[in-house]
Amino acid sequence: MSPGCRQSELGPIAEAQAAANVRASLSEGAEAGTGSSAAGSTGTGWATLKGRFVFDGTPPQMQPYNVNKDLATCTINGKAPLQQTLLVDSATGGLANVAIYIRKASRVHVSLESPPSRESLFDQKECIFLSHVYPLTLGQTMQIKNSDNVGHNTNIEGKNSFNQTIPAGELIDFTPQKEEAVPVSVRCSIHPWMLAYFLPRKNGYYAISKPDGSFEIANVPAGEELEMQVWHESAVGPGHALVLDTPDAKKLKWSKKGRFKIKLGEDEVKDMEITVPAAALGG
C-alpha cells in the first residue's frame, strides 16, 4: 500500500482461504463439540489452600489522591488520603489486595454452593471505597452504601455495567449477574480519584490478601489439579496478572498469565509463602 493513503495500520489482515475454512466449519454448527473443556472432577474430598504474599523490595511511598471536590468531606484534617495501589505491611512485609482464585472448579463444596449471605456491603467513606478489591459470589446482592454526607455515583465497568447515583447516607441494591475473569474497575465520576476493583465469581473459591498478606481458601477440591489465577492492580502482567519468576514460582510452573497449578491431598492444609519481587509490580 502506498504510504500516506491511510493512517498507520498495524496488525495482520484475514487470509481468504483460512477465513473461508472457518466459515464453512462454523456454518455447520457446533454439534461435533464434546462439551465444556472444563476439567472433569477426578478427586474426592476437600482441602485448604492458604498462605501469605510477601513483598520483596522497598515499598513505594503512596501518593495522596488528587482530591479536588468536596474538600470538607474528602480530606482528613485538610490532607488528602493516600492511594492504595500497592500496600505493604511495614512489620511483616505482607502484600495486601492480591486476588487469588480458582479459575474453573470441577466441583464445589456444599458450603460454597450458595453465597455465604444474600447481601454484601460495598461502602464508601471520606470519598474512598472501603473495600479496595471487592469480591462477590454471584447470587449475592451488592449493597452499595454511601456513608458520606456528599453524593456519590458508583460506576462499575465490565460485563455487569452499572452507573447509578448513590445519595448521601443512602444504600442502593445491585445484583450482578456475570462472572469476570479478572477484577474490573469501580469508580465515582463525581470524585474521579475514587477507585476500587470488583471481582464477581460463580463460587466462593477466591480470597483477597489481608493487610498482612495472608489469604485462605477453604474446602477446595482435593485430589485434582487446581488452576489458580493471581492478580494485583499494580502487577505488570497482561490484565494486571501477577507474574512471578522466583525459584519458588518456577517450581509451581507459574505462567506468564499469573496462573499456577496445584494438587492437594484430602484434608491437606497447604500453607505457602509467596514472595513477590518489586519488579513484578513495576518497581
Partner: protein
Amino acid sequence: MIFRLKYLRLFCCLAVVVAAGCDTVEPSFRLNMVEAVSNDTGDAYQQEIQNVLGGMFGSPDAPYVLPETGLDQARLQVAAGPAWSDQAGTNHGLYRRHCVHCHGINGDGRGPTARFLNPYPRDYRPGIYKFKSTYNASKPTDEDLHRVLINGVPGTGMPSFSLLPGSEVESLVEYVKYLSIRGQMETALIRYVYDDLDEEEALDEKGNPILDPNGEPVMLRVPLDPENEPDQREAILEILGEIVDGWNAANEGIIVPAEDQIPSDSRTPEEIAASVVRGRELFYGVKANCVKCHGPTGLGDGQQDDQDYWNKVNKVFLESLTQKTSPAVEAVKQEVAATLYPVRNAIPRDLRLGIYRGGRRRIDIFWKIYAGIAGTPMPGLGPASAGATGTLTEAEMWDIVEYVLSLPYEPPSQPQKALPENLNPISSAG
C-alpha cells in the same frame, strides 16, 4: 523508436496505477491493537483471530453474517463495499458514501476526519451507545439508532441523514450493528484466546514431556483453530450467542415511564413553575447531585476530570506505558500508542445552550436522567434494570427534566446564585 514508445506507454500506465493508489486497494478490517497488545496476543494468534473474524464477518467489500446474528445480509450488502449507483439509480456502498470518513472502515471512529472532530466520532466496536431509550447496560434498539441517523447529534459533527430514503437508513442501521457485533466479537475472541488457550507441554509418542537441553519441558502453542477443534468452535458460537442475545434483548430493556407520572400537556403555568422549583431543589441537592458535574450555574463547569469509556480505554493503555516491561513489549506498545488520538476528558453538558445531543423531547431527557448515559460518567437516577432500586421517583425525575428544559431560558442578566452545598452533614454514627 516504436519499441521505446511502447515502454513509455507501459510506464505511463504504471504511473497512473501507482498514483491512483488509495482507491485501488481493497480495504480490510484491522485488528483492535489496543485490545490485542493489552491481552498479550502474539503475532500468530493475531493472524488466527483475523482469520476467524474473516470467516464470521467477511470483509468491508463482502460482508457476511452467520444466521445466528439475525442480521440481514441483503441490507449489509447495500451498505458495504465501494460507493456507486447502478442504472436504476440504486445507491450501493452507503457506509463508504456517508459514514466512513469519520467512523472509519472498522467502525472504530478513526476515519480520516476523526482526528479533527470534537467529540471524536463514535467507535462502534465496544457496542456501547449513548443516545437510547434503554437501561444503561442495555443495547440500543433499532429505533434508537434510526433516530440518531435521522436527527443527527446536535452540537457534534454528526449530521442528519433524514434526506436518505428510509431503506437506505435501515441498511445503515444494520451495518452499524454489524460493525458493533463484529467489534464485540473481536474483543471477546482476543480475551478468549488469552483466557482459554494456553501453552501445552509437548509430549513424545509415549506421552512423556519432551525436555529441552536445560531439562525444561518444551512448550507448544495451542492454536486458535475452530476448523479442527470442535470445543473451540462451540466456545466461539457460544460467545457470539451471548453478544447477539444482548442486542436481541434491547427491546426488553426499553424504559417505559409510568403513565400516571408523565407530566400532563394541560398543566397550568403555575404547575409547570412549581415543577421547575422542585427540579431545581433536586438538581442542587445531595440526592440527585447534578450540580457536582454540571456546575452551580449549569454551565458544565463542575467535575471535568473524568473520561468516557472510549477515552478511558486509551488513557489506561497509555498509562500502562509507564510500567517497566520487556523491551519487546515496550516497543509494540509504543507503536500502538503512537496511533492513538489525544485523550479528552468528558466535559459535562452545558445545560444553558439548549442543545441536547440525544434529542430535545422531554422523553429523551427523561431517559438520560433515568438511565444515565452509557459509556460516560453520567450516572442514572432510576433503577438500573427492571425491578431494581432507583435513586429518585419518576415524578422527581420529571421535575428535573422540567428544570433542565427551563435553564436555557433563565435571563442571563439574572444568573442563578448557587445554593450552599452540604449544610447539613448526616450523622456519621453507625
